[in-house]
Symmetry: D2
Subunit: 313 residues, 4 copies
């Protein structure tokens, strides 16, 4: 199958999801946009040495049966998408990708292969199909979200924590584990709270200098840190939301960005930058490329078409 | 109340639970055995400067109404214990302290104030009383068990882990968090598994170079790593049981000691050293002394007698 | 003596050189600009509680006999400076402070007390006087320049180094030591080169993925990494100049800034951000305030006038 | 040439200097003692799969033209050595290997190829020949001496350093750099002193909680820490001599061992364990094997005979 890889144009995105060294025994033809490897100083020649075709962005879209885009396809590329094309990547069909599904996927009968960690499925003509992609394939990406987000937040806040800095981490999933690993380089004065021990956090939350959130709560769940609780935090407390669950777990919080990563409200500081794995894109690209090559690019991607075949006659 | 502090004689125990700098406004008289601070280079004079009485071991036992012993009182001291004396410390009444309870506590009507993290209670004449001591008072000690145990195990095994070393941590409680924090100094190639994700561990456990256990399972629970599963681990895999739950979570494993910390079985290596917080006694003593001074030694300890008063008429 | 402390207006400067908790037994009157502690969430009230006078910027300049300014006084404040006033801080009289000396210090007969690490002297009417300030008083600031600069550079470059990343550090002084300490959190694949071993670096420099410079060479010294040597570095090599010795040690390199910290040239990346200690201002302020309180603010600063008294009749 | 590799019998030595994965295109025949890879769980079969001959210890000595022994050949093996045999390894001809040179090398006309970092030479019949081995080939071993020695010393002393722990490192060579990298995982409150700044150390040495020595001074040099200076150190100060320069740099200090690593003298603690790289033998073996394969085992070792040929007619 012809798979097209285009340069990321998602704001702040610098990860390169396929590296020449991992291109081995691919049962797919790979079309790569000129300068695809630029962020990692990889020349086009290195991709063509591995049998890839180097084309312009438009040509890649035009000649590919499937487009791999790590992040959501941006509106500026909508006009490239052709009827029946396959899209592989994080598409967040029930989240930030809803408008893409409505405006592009449905009308153009796109075959959307979503790499969501918990339910990697195929979305086609309002139906959901099992994809055969292992669950948690890219779990480490969430780990990196916590890992890189904490480091960036600390530097932007201007503090290297020490054993004197009291640190709470909410959640014990991959994002929280990445945050825990990252901040452990500097301090072991950390306590990780999860469902069973959250009551202890509620009794002690005002003691913390840094509170790191790694939890995405459900729409109807109560926030873990309400407005009033935030008010009783110490002056100067730093809240790092590496789950980027803006406004939910930390009531009233809003997104920040890589260029303006921290805002202050009533003497507390909030870091709610999304897409933080891209901060350490040189590490993450290595891992992504290895996993995607083994699980997506190596085997013929027409296998995903067969999954939706009956509808796709 | 007269509280006696004697030098630790529990094998390998070097923590000093009370430091002169924390002795302020104590509503108790403190009797300290000569050389009590020796492990931390604290002279007897520094204790007497703070109003403590420096006595021989026998005199401390003889003149104290309550004996503080961080670890279980050892048989060699049984003969010192007098009728109705109070014992404060970790006494493990349902675990390793059962024989102490049977042979000493009951017959001598001792008032046993147990500092157990989850249920800090008073045991007196076969009855259990609420102690008023906050739960999780010494939670950080479990954290240190994981923290120090992992570091010691790595050095004994001869490996500083890198990003190439695949590491699994079982559990997300304090012991597991200490282990996670400790090994994060060297690698972020870590995944922490807990109840909800243990099935993923079961599918992947053979990939790991190091498996760290931070879980104490119940008597009737299945082991998390059975004999057969251990057989299919990679040659040279290191299993660090910082919960020191010998024979349970890791089927068939047995205790090791600080002097002989690792044994090999079928090409796998096992570290099951108990009491690992004592490895970094210089850090832990600081924390213990502060917490115990605030929560145990400052207020009059006769408060514990009042808790059991009706029976103690 | 009346000492005035005004908010930093040096680009990117966020350190607060005096904290209320360190104000004890000062033989000087302290005048503080409103909002002086803002970066560290310290209210004006906390300074007035310690006997400081809270004034507007203009009033501080107007009423102070000495102005403490950590960084060079900026042109926008020149008009505030009065004849015979004392300036205490880093004034770089032979470096970036030359124009200040010429335009302000000399004509207004300012008494300039320079806190330079190697030669902390007083400059007054073209004469240089010994200050009595201990050498190396603020050596740790250079350490932090290396420490924070490396961390920021890595995040901007998008890489957390591992044991696979080959790292060279040039120099063994305080800046180089800070860089060494910082990057050691992530990798031990480091070699520090100094005068005696620089020849070994010259034989091996093309093997390195990251080259960190902690050396300020003399005006007439050869660069340590010439244009041609830079050309033969690996594609993607990151050069972090935490000595910010732009154009000297690394031939042809130029300053970058906190907002645009890295530039690429022929596939190599250059980070040459000056004033990096300010990146971790929350840590550095604590240390600065303690040292400055003990060595500058506590004793009567008129002692510096006496040093230049004969001329100042 | 036939090269024999025997199991280490140097006290505490666990490094395995050749791993099967590095055996490629060797121009030498390799004879390996049974169980040679045991410490790293490498079976004899893995060596024979790579063309090695698996023999008893005696057979290896009997059939090899050259014996590779990382550490000094022990007296228990002297009787194996045959006239004219080659010995490759660290032989310390002017240090601990003097008796070996006198009792074995000279009388049996052994060709001793010493892997000393600064002067890798061949010693044959009282003559010294250039070996062609690059200088600093195994420099990283000294780095590991500092790295592992510091970690072991801290654990034996019972302290994980924090930012409150004042740490001095003497020297800026490879051993000192390893120590610096190791302790930087836990604290950045470190200052490295070398020739130019040693005077500053002499003015401040009593402030330090931990003093790490990475310097081997010359026989006639004054100690860096004299008896009297040691007396004025703080009670409980830990002195870690990872240069293991017992009795010289730290006046009066004596060797300790892995089993009894620390002694106390007048309230100060001394760690002077030699051969500390072997503590982390699993890391160091990987590095040693790669470097030795490339620089020693790959090319025909008879090249060393040719270096001494005229004498060896």
């Amino acid at each position: 199958m012809k798979i097209g890889l285009v340069k990321a144009n998602f704001p702040g995105e610098r990860r390169v999801p396929l590296l020449p060294k991992d291109i081995k025994d691919f049962k797919n033809e790979i079309l790569v946009e000129e300068g695809f490897g630029k962020f990692l100083d990889i020349d086009d020649q290195e991709y063509s040495d591995k049998g890839c075709h180097i084309l312009s962005r438009a040509e890649v879209f035009a000649e590919s049966e499937a487009i791999f885009s790590l992040k959501l396809i941006q509106p500026t590329d909508y006009y490239h998408l052709r009827e029946g094309q396959m899209i592989i990547g994080w598409t967040h069909p029930f989240g930030s990708g809803q408008s893409f599904m409505k405006e592009q996927a449905l009308p153009k009968k796109l075959i959307v292969v979503d790499l969501d960690s918990n339910s990697p499925c195929i979305y086609y003509e309002n139906e959901i199909f099992e994809s055969g992609i292992p669950k948690g394939l890219l779990y480490k990406n969430s780990f990196y979200a916590g890992y890189a987000g904490v480091l960036d937040a600390l530097l932007q806040y201007g503090l290297i924590p020490t054993e004197e800095t009291k640190i709470a981490i909410l959640g014990s999933g991959n994002v929280a584990q990445g945050a825990f690993s990252s901040i452990s380089k500097y301090s072991s004065n950390i306590r990780m709270y999860y469902r069973k021990t959250m009551s202890i956090f509620k009794e002690n939350y005002t003691k913390y200098d840094i509170i790191i959130n790694g939890i995405e709560i459900g729409k109807d769940d109560d926030p873990i840190l309400s407005f009033s609780e935030q008010k009783s935090l110490k002056k100067g407390t730093l809240i790092i939301d590496v789950a980027a669950d803006a406004g939910n777990t930390i009531e009233g919080s809003h997104f920040t960005s890589i260029d303006a990563p921290i805002y202050e409200n009533a003497g507390k500081y909030y870091y709610v930058v999304p897409n933080t794995p891209s901060l350490i894109y040189r590490n993450v690209s290595q891992e992504l490329s290895k996993i995607l090559s083994e699980n997506i690019f190596r085997k013929d991607c027409s296998r995903f078409i067969e999954k939706v075949k009956p509808l796709n006659k």
